[in-house]
């Protein structure tokens, strides 16, 4: 392992993380719910009366963030080097896996770890380990 100091952005990472944490805190304190994106989106697949608008509003907020940002400033760097085929496969796996495992980086990772939920800590370790292993295989074993 070598650390990519030129890519390391500790200040924006900490500040951005704190903003994410503030959003999760706001949602817990006002709406009493977990800001778990896969679960919020997934709940729309089984629409129930009174349980739809807050979900759509949260999703709309996420989509609106880059739109509003753009009105005031240029968006930060966003680079997607992955091919369309790999993106589509990855999206399928993320869609199935997050629902089967009951959460993603936001629900298990940010909220669950903040709540010190043993379930979420195990889930977070599992998806991080799988993420590390996948990048290792893709970058260092296959594409040599």
């Amino acid at each position: 392992m070598s650390i990519a100091w030129n890519a390391f952005t500790p200040a924006s990472a900490l500040i951005g993380g704190a903003i994410i944490g503030a959003a999760a805190a706001l949602f817990a304190v006002l709406n009493g719910r977990i800001a778990g994106v896969s679960g919020i989106l997934g709940g729309l697949a089984r629409p129930q009366a009174g349980d739809i608008s807050w979900r759509i509003a949260f999703v709309a907020g996420l989509i609106a963030a880059p739109l509003a940002w753009r009105l005031l400033a240029a968006l930060p760097e966003i680079r997607v080097d992955t091919s369309y085929f790999t993106l589509a496969s990855a999206g399928l796996l993320v869609g199935i896996g997050t629902r089967y495992g009951g959460g993603c980086t936001s629900g298990h990772g940010v909220c669950g770890v903040s709540r010190m939920s043993p379930r979420s800590i195990v889930a977070t370790l599992a998806f991080m380990a799988a993420g590390f292993a996948t990048v290792y295989v893709a970058r260092h074993l296959i594409s040599q």
Partner: protein
């Protein structure tokens, strides 16, 4: 009121993803690439988020109503089972392939990125596949 609070939370969450670099798939993959030139930034995103959110969750654990009067609906399951681990592993493989998880998928789509939209469409399809099998299992 709840809808407005929900939109605000999603919006602030999205801004945080943009500021932190989580919405940049190349940066996420740089974090997941332990054996390459490793970018540790995203560990600090997690640390910053948990440091801020932990207090709010500790407070809500003691309350049954939110500040707006809504019931507190934080998850109660404690079982660590096959579904949790297998699902999280599958998610991790997809995350490692693209560097995109569900929140950033929505933010990326908001930037109008065609690749973000393809990922989001596939993710929603994956959701549909999950629902199909869940409902079939429920009927059986």
């Amino acid at each position: 009121m709840y809808t407005a609070a929900s939109f605000t939370a999603g919006f602030v969450f999205g801004l945080g993803l943009l500021v932190s670099g989580m919405a940049n798939p190349a940066k996420v993959l740089g974090f997941l690439d332990l054996a390459g030139a490793w970018d540790p930034s995203l560990a600090l995103v997690m640390a910053g988020a948990v440091a801020v959110a932990a207090g709010a969750f500790a407070l809500m654990k003691k309350r049954t109503r939110t500040l707006l009067g809504a019931p507190v609906l934080l998850p109660t399951p404690r079982r660590i089972d096959r579904r949790l681990i297998l699902g999280s592993l599958v998610f991790g493989v997809g995350w490692g392939l693209a560097g995109i998880c569900p929140g950033p998928a929505l933010v990326l789509s908001g930037t109008g990125s065609a690749k973000g939209l393809v990922f989001l469409a596939a993710m929603i399809a994956g959701n549909g596949i999950f629902e199909f099998f869940e409902r079939r299992a429920a009927r059986a």
